[in-house]
């Protein structure tokens, strides 16, 4: 009895796919990467030499859809499967690529550096609701040329969980692939049990940039999973209607999968995105809007029709503080994502249109995730009779009767999610005695506890040394002698 949210009828999904195939031919897809164009041309695709717009036929797309894996895993440091991409599995990870972090004491959005990313890694590592880490913020204390690879380097050093990451250029995606191979021992080992997945973005509307398509090709060849993050903005960079936007999203994903599978058939790729509406008052891209969540639920339904693994960006807020708006937008959208059966839901911890991260929000969002996961756990039948069996001869018609039943002790942990101290269910007295804190105040305390209890993973010393010298080499090529000193 797992509850599921669906917004589209089968008939509408069929029409979305049919019109997406039409879009692939007219107006076509702008492919700005030469190698991708060469591959497409070899398959007989007509490409305008001036505009680089390709008319991709349905037959080629369908061939790609046949070779693409329906499911795969990401693995933890020990090589255990930890994240399942496929079916209706649901996982959450913190949002990626923030540029600021909420200072819990001053409430300023501080520009992020090494220490900020480490703090987020430490907190997310110890929260079971996060099945994967992300390269959550950019470290502005290292040169631009290594800002993407350096995030992955830190995640590998400070975490044992799988990592959702991404590269900023075609040069650095190869460096990051090499880094993963070096860490795993060989390119084959990195491919066989992938530790990380790379977000790759097309540009709306209907553009696969030189960088995006290049990333797809390199990842496909390396056999490292890619995650398409198509970002249509309904009303600005995509049609104003939800169905129009989902159709554009479909076309962008289909084109991406085609390029990816042409580069290496059978490499893993995910149907994902960070679709949003375009706010008509502020010109913003609200991640916490309900329509944003509805777009994501809809495109996931399209993906599931094709049997594709899924990803989305939900569980974030546009608020600048960890406040009531943050709670309601993050909680509601995480719930929609989980009910939609989306395999990887990125965005937790994030404020301000995905620009700002917060460790305190990560802690609070974990409770929203736990609620969403409890929800999709559904209502279960644990006992042969539903109720009558509970009323044995020890019933005294008193309120506490059921507290004394063995079965209560056996089942209450399964029936109820037991929230952490961030969720207040105290009496007013106990709450006052604990300092009359709001959720943010309680989250600040929890973050302090987590930072104090964190221990660096014990990694193989050769492995660490290889990783460090590779990273140092990249840094030196980028013009700095030393990497920032790392704390324990």
């Amino acid at each position: 009895m797992r509850p599921k949210l669906t917004l589209l009828s089968d008939e509408i999904i069929a029409r979305i796919l049919a019109e997406a195939y039409e879009l692939l031919l007219k107006p076509g897809i702008k492919v700005q990467n030469e190698e991708a164009r060469d591959m497409l041309r070899r398959e007989g695709v007509v490409i305008d030499p001036e505009t680089h717009v390709a008319q991709i036929p349905a037959s080629l797309v369908q061939r790609a859809l046949e070779s693409v894996p329906r499911e795969f895993y990401l693995y933890d440091y020990h090589g255990n499967p930890a994240v399942h991409y496929g079916g209706d599995s649901v996982h959450f990870d913190p949002g990626s690529s923030g540029i600021t972090m909420l200072n819990p004491d001053t409430l300023e959005h501080d520009t992020t550096e090494t220490e900020h990313l480490i703090r987020l890694l430490k907190v997310a590592e110890q929260i079971p609701q996060y099945d994967a880490q992300s390269t959550a913020v950019i470290c502005h204390d290292v040169p631009k040329e290594i800002q993407d690879s350096y995030r992955l380097y830190l995640a590998l050093l400070y975490s044992k969980k799988p990592i959702v990451t991404g590269a900023f250029t075609n040069k650095t995606v190869q460096e990051m692939i090499d880094m993963l191979a070096l860490f795993a021992g060989s390119p084959e080992a990195a491919r066989e049990k992938p530790r990380a997945i790379f977000d790759v973005c097309p540009a709306p509307p209907l553009i696969w940039s030189n960088f995006g398509a290049g990333n797809l090709i390199q990842l496909a060849r390396a056999g490292i999973p890619a995650e398409i993050v198509s970002v249509p903005l309904a009303g600005a960079a995509a049609p104003v209607t939800m169905l129009g936007t989902v159709t554009q999203h479909t076309a962008e994903c289909l084109a991406g999968i085609t390029i990816h599978q042409l580069a290496h058939p059978g490499s893993p790729i995910v149907w994902g995105g960070a679709a949003a509406i375009f706010d008509m008052k502020k010109g913003a891209t609200p991640m916490g809007a309900i329509e944003t969540a509805m777009l994501d639920c809809s495109y996931a339904q399209v993906a599931k029709t094709l049997g594709m693994p899924t990803h989305t960006y939900l569980g974030a807020t546009d608020s600048k503080l960890v406040d009531a708006q943050a709670g309601l937008e993050s909680g509601i959208s995480a719930m929609v994502g989980a009910l939609s059966g989306i395999n990887m839901i990125s965005g937790s911890g994030m404020l301000d249109f995905l620009a700002c991260h917060s460790a305190e929000k990560l802690v609070i969002d974990a409770e929203g995730i736990a609620m969403a996961k409890r929800m999709i756990g559904g209502v279960k039948q644990h006992t042969d009779t539903l109720a009558t069996g509970f009323y044995d001869d020890k019933i005294n018609f008193k309120g506490g009767d059921f507290l004394k039943q063995k079965i209560t002790m056996q089942l209450f942990r399964e029936e109820q999610h037991l929230p952490g101290d961030v969720i207040d269910r105290s009496s007013t007295r106990a709450w006052k005695e604990a300092g009359s804190l709001d959720a943010f105040g309680r989250a600040k305390l929890r973050v302090k506890e987590l930072l104090a209890s964190y221990r660096r993973p014990e990694l193989d010393s050769d492995q660490t040394a290889r990783l460090h010298s590779y990273m140092l080499d990249l840094a030196q090529k980028a013009g700095v002698e030393e990497l920032p000193r790392l704390e324990d």
């Binding site: 506490g400 004394k404 002790m409 942990r413």
Partner: protein, 219 residues
């Protein structure tokens, strides 16, 4: 202490932690057969388990069903050992005698019952009068059994005033500090307890045990 006895004590504590009355009763009987002094079985065996689960509850690691089941398993074990204690003429040292009740006009009792379970598991002799009890009846019972504590529960802001009335009556009769009063219930604050001159209040059943021990000078 022989290894066998040591293991028995450990199993006794574990049966309480597991909240398993069947096993705690079985172990209590076994200890009688082995000729272990019943007082030892209680204090070196079962009580260790009660204390452990109480600490776990205080630390947020254990939950109400575990606390209640531990209390029930303790009660069941003590029921087996008590006749032996009496036979030996070495009755278990009673921490204190408590009368528990929910005030007149109020029928809530889950919290009060929990307090009762934990108090008796911790060595108090508990008389639970139930819900909707008048001050006269509660005081009468306390005098009858020579109680040194009254535990008074109220869950409603409209009925909590009854706690004050009972205390005033006790004071009028000059019955304090012979009988001390602990108040509890969702709306009860420390300020309220102070204002009505109660002898103490606690947030939960584990705290109530600590408070009761303190009031009878056995903490």
């Amino acid at each position: 202490m022989s290894e066998e006895i040591e293991k028995l004590f450990k199993d006794m504590a574990q049966s309480i932690i597991d909240g398993d009355s069947d096993i705690s009763v079985e172990l209590a009987q076994k200890s009688i057969e082995m000729g272990i002094p019943p007082l030892d079985a209680i204090t070196k065996g079962f009580v260790v388990g009660v204390n452990y689960i109480g600490d776990q509850f205080g630390a947020g690691e254990a939950f109400l069903p575990e606390l209640v089941m531990a209390g029930e398993a303790m009660k069941a074990a003590v029921a087996v050992l008590e006749p032996e204690l009496i036979k030996l003429g070495e009755a278990r040292e009673i921490m204190g005698r408590v009368v528990l009740a929910t005030v007149e006009g109020d029928i809530h009792e889950i919290g009060k019952t929990l307090v009762g379970t934990m108090l008796s598991a911790s060595g108090f002799e508990v008389t639970d009068l139930g819900v909707d009890q008048s001050a006269d009846k509660i005081i009468g019972k306390a005098l009858e059994i020579n109680a040194n504590l009254i535990g008074l529960s109220a869950l409603l802001t409209t009925t909590m005033v009854r706690q004050r009335e009972l205390i005033e009556e006790l004071d009028k009769e000059n019955l304090r500090p012979r009988i001390q009063v602990m108040v509890g219930g969702a709306p009860i604050t420390r300020d309220w307890a102070t204002k009505i001159k109660a002898d103490g209040t606690s947030e939960d059943a584990v705290g109530a045990v600590a408070l009761a021990k303190q009031l009878v000078g056995k903490s």
